[in-house]
């Protein structure tokens, strides 16, 4: 089952209203330096391509690049790390987003009930917490609100460490976007927004992986 590249995954879900961090797709170290200046430092740099699904495991993500030299050096290293089986590759330049809270959201096909929308608590403790909620597609906005209410870790959604409460309407927008994408693109087998970083209360998806029927 093929997976779309991160850039294509984001493009597909963005058409249905899922909000992503601004980012640029470039092909050289010089272009990466220019893009980073436009977006504002610090930035994140990733190597992307249709054949690349597990960037973190291969060290293809460089975080918190604070100036031109750091961007240029990281870009050259990432391009050099490409393997022949990766096919056509590119660099993704994105602003380094900061937030103490991470959620996950996605689309998953359940054997019994078919396609579902999922929302969960993300971050390094996600697996241990297993705090997730599901609904069958399509969902209503009220279903989206109910999913947020279903999460056990409600304190995480209120004001935390100087950050405002999570904007629930914006989070429902993400869930509605996923539900609409499932309805509009029957070829989608699964989708993951991981992480969905809460930046000043608003959920921003910084990575996406869509799996489609081959």
């Amino acid at each position: 089952m093929p997976t779309l590249s991160e850039a294509d995954s984001k493009r597909l879900l963005a058409t249905y209203g899922v909000a992503f961090a601004a980012e640029r797709q470039v092909h050289s170290a010089d272009e990466a330096v220019t893009a980073a200046r436009d977006l504002g430092h610090p930035v994140v740099l990733k190597l992307g391509g249709d054949g690349i699904a597990h960037k973190t495991e291969r060290g293809l993500v460089r975080l918190a690049l604070g100036d031109d030299d750091a961007v240029s050096e990281a870009a050259a290293a990432l391009l050099a790390a490409a393997r022949p089986e990766d096919g056509q590759v590119h660099l993704l330049v994105a602003p380094m987003l900061r937030g103490n809270r991470e959620l996950i959201a996605g689309l998953h096909r359940d054997e019994q009930f078919g396609m579902t929308v999922m929302l969960g608590v993300g971050g390094i403790l996600a697996e241990a917490l297993a705090d997730v909620a599901f609904r069958l597609v399509p969902i209503t906005r009220q279903d989206g609100h109910d999913m947020i209410d279903d999460l056990a870790t409600q304190a995480l959604l209120g004001p935390v460490r100087g950050e405002p409460a999570v904007d629930r309407e914006a989070l429902v927008d993400v869930l509605m976007g996923l539900s609409d994408a499932a309805g509009g693109e029957p070829s989608i087998l699964s989708a993951d927004l991981n992480p969905l970083i809460i930046v000043e209360g608003r959920p921003v998806a910084v990575d996406a992986l869509v799996e489609v029927a081959g």
């Binding site: 054997e111 009930f113 078919g114 609904r135 069958l136």
Partner: protein, 490 residues
């Protein structure tokens, strides 16, 4: 799919019944089912069939279905061996029989041969236009028809709860709770292998059935998940639908994998589906029955502001804890209500919620206080604790060596009258103000003959065995009321 209303009417309200495979041995299904039909007082015509013609329990038994009258029988209760059933059902169809309940085993549960037999059974039911319930089921109960066509007990009191179960034993369990609580049943059916008629089919009939106000189901698996969701949602839009599911942990524990999808244990998807469909999901059989019984006997609350009325402090504290763990709110006592209660009570009462009377009540206090609290516009529901204490003491006096002298007869009568009055006052206030008022005491199960719980039952309400169980039931009512409101199209 449109439901076969005529078939369900033949199953639940038959004009006459044939027990196929009648036995003279009181341990056999073919005897027990006939016994139960007659013992429950079914008023239609009852016939039997067997290899030999004759009479069992005063019922005429034929050896040939052709000897039965035309058009007098709607339902056949089948206890015969599986391989004889196709011919039996064809002969029954000839006599105008529209529904069959198959207690017979030897179908889908019995290997490839049985599965083949079950496939053929479904095809035959279609060809005959007959509603075929089961096979391998325990039976069907329908109180409007005084029908107890089952191979197990009990026959429950009449009521408005419609039950369908993938496990026949849980039909008995639910009906045992009906007997215990006095909150009764309209229809109950064991789906058995659910070859031709599924749980969703029964639930759709209950949604349309005027005798049923609440649907209650036990399920283990859902073969057509998406279809079940759509149909259950339509049922729950009409009537409360309470569901308890077995096998919630099988296949779980996949949460350890790093992929986010693997966080999806099946039960979480099922849980989300229930909430999306407006289904009231209960964790246990008794919680499910009590939720259904509460839907059947209490109005839905319009909000979540609860007042606890108690005659002793500790009960109120524990109940406050239970409310805090639910979606209900232990509402601060409104000033005007506090002032009104001050005029009825001596100063030592709690003056807050829980309203703890602290033994301050006199003869008429409790009925007056209940009505004041329930009637207040900022109170949505009331939980009343402490019923039956004095009657419990009365029971000890009645059985002791000094009764009836020393004024004991008089005080025992007084206490028992008072507790009956308090239960009546709680039901009357609930009716008058259209708000749920739940009465809880362990005496409901420890001393079911206590005058307090007896009067709660006589008033058609459930007497909860603990305050925690009352809170759980009320929480289910509020969740449904809130979901109905939130999901109503703007």
């Amino acid at each position: 799919m449109t439901i076969d209303v005529a078939g369900f009417q033949a199953l639940f309200d038959p004009r006459g019944i044939l027990v196929a495979g009648v036995s003279t041995h009181p341990g056999k299904f073919g005897f027990v089912s006939l016994h139960n039909i007659l013992a429950a007082g079914y008023e239609g015509a009852v016939y039997g069939s067997s290899l030999e013609a004759g009479e069992v329990l005063g019922v005429q038994v034929v050896a040939d279905i052709a000897d039965l009258p035309e058009g007098a029988i709607d339902l056949v209760f089948v206890c015969t061996p599986a391989d004889t059933n196709p011919d039996l059902l064809r002969a029954c169809a000839q006599k105008g029989i529209r529904a069959a309940f198959l207690a017979s085993a030897g179908y889908g549960e019995a290997g490839p041969e049985g599965q083949q037999r079950q496939t053929e059974l479904v095809a035959l039911a279609d060809a005959l236009g007959m509603l075929v319930a089961g096979p391998n089921g325990q039976g069907v109960v329908s109180t409007p028809a005084r029908l107890c066509a089952q191979i197990v007990a009990p026959y429950p009191p009449a009521g408005t709860i419609g039950i369908a179960s993938q496990s026949g034993n849980f039909i008995s369990s639910f009906m045992n709770y009906a007997v215990q609580t006095g909150v009764g049943v309209s229809r109950a059916v064991s789906a058995g292998n659910a070859a031709a008629v599924s749980i969703a089919d029964y639930l759709e009939f209950y949604a349309a059935d005027p005798a049923t106000e609440v649907a209650l189901a036990y399920i283990e698996g859902v073969p057509d998940g998406r279809g079940f969701f759509e149909r259950a949602r339509a049922v729950a839009a009409d009537k409360p639908l309470v569901l308890v599911k077995g096998g919630t942990t099988a296949g779980g524990q996949r949460a350890a994998a790093s992929h986010t999808g693997s966080l999806a244990s099946d039960d979480r998807v099922f849980d989300g589906m229930c909430r999306q469909a407006g289904i009231t999901r209960a964790a246990t059989i008794e919680e499910a029955y009590e939720a259904a019984a509460t839907f059947a006997t209490q109005p839905l609350p319009k909000g979540n502001r609860v007042v606890v009325l108690t005659t002793a402090g500790g009960w109120g504290v524990v109940t406050a804890d239970a409310i805090a763990r639910s979606s209900l709110e232990l509402t601060p006592l409104p000033d005007d209500l506090r002032a009104a209660l001050d005029t009825k009570l001596p100063p030592r009462w709690s003056r807050n919620n829980p309203v703890d009377l602290a033994g301050a009540e006199t003869r008429d206090t409790i009925p007056e206080v209940i009505d004041l609290i329930v009637g207040h516009p900022e109170v949505d529901a009331v939980i009343y604790l402490g019923l039956g204490i004095q009657s419990n003491q009365a029971a000890l006096m009645r059985s002791g060596p000094f009764y009836p002298g020393h004024g004991l007869e008089r005080i025992v009568d007084y206490h028992e009258r008072q507790d009956a009055r308090f239960a009546q006052a709680a039901a009357a206030a609930s009716d008058r103000h259209a708000k749920p008022v739940l009465t809880a005491t362990e005496l409901a199960v420890t001393h079911p003959g206590n005058s307090g719980p007896v009067a709660v039952r006589a008033n058609g309400r459930l007497c909860y065995a603990s305050a925690n169980r009352a809170v759980t039931a009320l929480d289910h009512l509020w969740r449904r009321a809130r979901a109905e409101d939130a999901h109503r199209p703007a």
